[in-house]
């Protein structure tokens, strides 16, 4: 297959990245519920257990706090553990290890050690998995100093960001939107890294900046195309990393377009869009704003099981189009 036109799904790209890491770095091991023989709840780990054995692809018991403790301890002892929470919602059970141990150890030991763990977080709504299996909890973790939070939108970004996350000396929360697993894209064959903390402009535009991550990038791009039919020229910034945030790229984009909309799936209040809006209001981009900043976030309720209500609870393409039209036609 020609490397130039090779297509992989988001899940396959992640599996390739993990396979590469297992192959080249003996310190790397995977751990999580049903990631071995079953291949992972979303078939991301797939056949890795057959390729690398049960000692390096470990089916963990249902005990998230224990799993996280083992991962943090192993990382402290020089391993490079990758812990998959079957649903990111379950990471709530491991919050003590994540937020109070992993995030703080390097600070509290004066930099004498660190916790190079990657925690994989299948997140997001759209699968009918209801309130306890559908959340977008990125902002929970992005609020904790000492954690890094990554959230790719394409297969190529997933692979490059994952390998960079594994190289990072600190704990990285790696969010994978469940609806992205089957999306396809071009993925280079080599083991490349995409630096953490660097956003990417996924579509250039001159009249409005939409900042998004994960599935919302795809929705924003589709909305941008719809808006282009009306002659509107929208820029889409893919954050890729939520912490550390690439403020420079966002500021430059808003200075260019004079309008900012943040689209995110987590609850709107105190979500990632609130941070970006505040950051812009504090920045040199303030003088360039020509309209109020707009946040489109998730509804302030547990995610419904009913598919229609579930769709209504998070921003969809028509919502983005309507909000952008309001901003661009001076209705708001």
């Amino acid at each position: 297959m020609d490397a130039m036109i090779r297509e992989l799904s988001f899940a396959e790209a992640l599996r390739e990245a993990m396979g590469h890491a297992l192959e080249t770095d003996p310190r790397v091991f995977l751990m999580g519920e049903d990631i071995g023989v079953y291949g992972g709840a979303f078939q991301v780990t797939g056949d890795l257990v057959h390729r690398f054995g049960e000692a390096r692809v470990i089916d963990a018991p249902i005990a998230e706090l224990g799993q996280a403790g083992v991962a943090v301890g192993a990382a402290l002892a020089g391993q490079r553990p990758v812990l998959e929470f079957q649903f990111s919602d379950f990471a709530a059970l491991a919050m003590e290890q994540i937020a109070n141990q992993a995030a703080k150890i390097r600070f509290m030991y004066g930099g004498k050690c660190s916790v190079p763990v990657v925690m994989r977080m299948p997140c997001g709504s759209g699968t009918g998995a209801a309130a306890q299996h559908s959340q977008s909890m990125e902002a929970w973790f992005a609020h904790v100093p000492g954690l890094k939070v990554v959230e790719p939108s394409t297969p190529a970004d997933a692979k490059g960001l994952f390998l960079a996350a594994l190289d990072d000396p600190d704990p990285v929360m790696f969010f994978e939107h469940k609806l992205l697993y089957k999306t396809k894209g071009h993925v280079p064959t080599e083991a490349y890294r995409i630096p953490l903390g660097k956003a990417e402009i996924k579509r250039k535009g001159s009249q409005l900046t939409i900042v998004a991550s994960a599935i919302m990038v795809l929705k924003a791009l589709e909305a941008a195309e719809e808006l282009a039919k009306d002659g509107y020229d929208v820029e889409v910034v893919d954050l890729r990393t939520l912490r550390p945030l690439d403020t420079e790229t966002i500021i430059a984009s808003v200075k260019k377009t004079s309008r900012l909309m943040c689209v995110y799936e987590g609850a709107k209040t105190l979500g990632i869009g609130a941070e970006i809006a505040a950051m812009i209001a504090e920045s040199e981009a303030f003088d360039y704003l020509d309209a109020p900043i707009r946040r489109l976030g998730g509804a302030e309720c547990p995610l419904p099981y009913n598919p229609d209500l579930e769709r209504a609870a998070v921003p969809q393409v028509p919502d983005i189009v309507a909000a952008a039209r309001d901003m661009l036609s001076k209705r708001v």
Binding site: L221, E222, A228, K229, D230, G231, D233, D290, K330
Partner: protein, 455 residues
């Protein structure tokens, strides 16, 4: 005696003013000193307070209608004062410069456009965006003299640019300026937003418009595309200059029509331009639109002030017939995407959104079939049967040809052998859509071409 409410003079050279809105309705109690109505001139907007307390009656000036300074616009009656609708008092003699317009005519002449409201709120603060403030201060403009078109009268950057562009240019005789003429023009930071497309009744084609003054820029898209595909290039046209981006027949939102030839397409556009009142335009055109633009320049040389042709058809025999055929029949994401891939040198330019929206746009079978018929008529058997190379010898305006060297639809070598006066830009790493793949470069070429004409 009821108290007359007079339309006051709110700036020095004001002869008439419009009431933007009343804060009270006829029959309502009003209090002296409270805002009674909002007045708007061509330069300013402000709230006018009630001259007395009482009941508002006999409103004689509807919002949005020009009224002479000094006219009586209403009366305020004391609570116990007798009133009947038929017996409204005659206004006292005032310095009326023009007769008060009959209010009965107002409903017929009301426009749909939002009336700019006063930018000054109750607290006397001016509502303006940070960018508007920055531009105004840079241009030495007084915000209080600018009418805001944003929500609740907010002044936005476009309002400041409009005020700045009304300043006299150095050495040019023009209208009196609202501010000292020493102020420089405001810097252009963003292009003015386009207005919503509206089909023009006279010519039937759907067209995206950006209003403005000066020689307009006309955009003509390629086969299977639509006017919205140009959105990324609109910013290359300086703010204030009009833009007309047409949907070709059977494309975008234009009606389904059969197109017998490229010459017929050009005639259709020429007629549309005349119907739009355009007697001269800069033309930026792609592929099939490029051939149309060339034919237009031949058919109506006076209409075309400059030409930017991006991967134009009409310069050679070859064209990717498989693409024309396949794309004509594609209806879904899965069938559209491989063909879109052929349009670009690097698939990174194909965002999933672009694919999804293109696929959505191909859902209408009637339109799809009409486009397939156009392809079969204009490019039968994957061949370009129309040769427009001779046109270059006959036109005298600036012409630039832009081509991606990785164009897989129409070979870039068609651009060779044109007259030496024609500028040729070969773009490395771009396919058939340099306006998407090398947007900044193409935007710069468009800007330079327009600027070179001085029109």
């Amino acid at each position: 005696m009821p108290v007359e409410v007079i339309l006051p003079r709110v700036d020095m050279d004001m002869a008439t003013g419009k009431i933007a809105r009343w804060y009270a309705e006829a029959g309502q109690q009003v209090a002296q000193g409270e805002p009674l109505f909002e007045i708007e001139t061509d330069k300013a907007a402000m709230e006018i307070e009630a001259p007395a307390s009482g009941i508002l009656r006999d409103i004689k000036a509807e919002p949005g209608i020009d009224v002479a300074v000094g006219s009586t616009v209403a009366f305020i009656y004391a609570a116990d004062e007798a009133w009947s609708p038929a017996a409204a008092p005659a206004p006292a003699a005032a310095a009326v410069a023009a007769p008060v317009l009959e209010t009965t005519a107002t409903t017929a002449t009301k426009t749909e456009a939002p009336i700019p409201a006063a930018p000054v709120d109750i607290a006397g603060k001016i509502r303006a965006t940070p960018l508007a403030r920055k531009l105004a201060s840079g241009a030495g403009l007084d915000l209080s003299a600018i009418a805001g078109t944003g929500p609740r009268g907010r002044i936005v950057s476009d309002d400041v640019r409009a005020a700045a562009s009304a300043l006299p240019k150095v050495g040019a005789a023009s209208a009196p300026a609202p501010v000292p003429a020493s102020a420089p023009a405001a810097p252009a930071v963003i292009a003015a937003p386009p207005v919503a497309p509206r089909p023009a009744a006279q010519h039937g084609l759907s067209v995206h418009r950006r209003e403005g003054t000066g020689t307009p820029v006309v955009f003509l898209h390629g086969f299977g595309s639509e006017s919205g595909s140009w959105a990324g290039l609109f910013a290359a046209v300086e703010p204030g200059r009009p833009i007309l981006a047409f949907d070709l027949p059977s494309h975008g939102r234009s009606p389904v029509e059969d197109v017998p030839s490229i010459a017929a397409l050009a005639e259709r556009i020429a007629d549309a331009l005349r119907a739009e009142g355009v007697d001269e335009a800069h033309v930026v055109a792609h592929s099939l639109g490029g051939a149309t633009a060339l034919a237009l320049a031949d058919l109506a040389p006076a209409l075309v002030r400059s030409l930017v042709l991006i991967a134009p058809a009409g310069l050679g025999a070859d064209i990717d017939g498989a693409f024309l055929d396949g794309f004509s029949r594609a209806t879904s994401k899965e069938t559209v995407e491989p063909w879109l891939g052929r349009l670009v040198a690097d698939r990174k330019h194909l965002s999933p959104g672009f694919v999804a929206v293109t696929a959505k746009g191909r859902a209408d079978a009637e339109r799809r079939d009409a486009q397939a018929r156009i392809a079969r008529t204009v490019f039968p058997a994957g061949t370009q049967t129309t040769d427009l190379r001779g046109v270059f010898e006959r036109i005298a305006v600036p012409v630039r040809v832009v081509w991606g060297v990785a164009d897989a639809i129409i070979p870039w070598k068609h651009a060779l052998g044109l007259p030496g006066r024609v500028g040729l830009h070969l773009i490395p790493g771009a396919g058939h859509l340099p306006q998407l793949e090398a947007r900044d470069t193409v935007a710069a070429i468009v800007t330079e071409t327009i600027r070179s004409t001085g029109a």
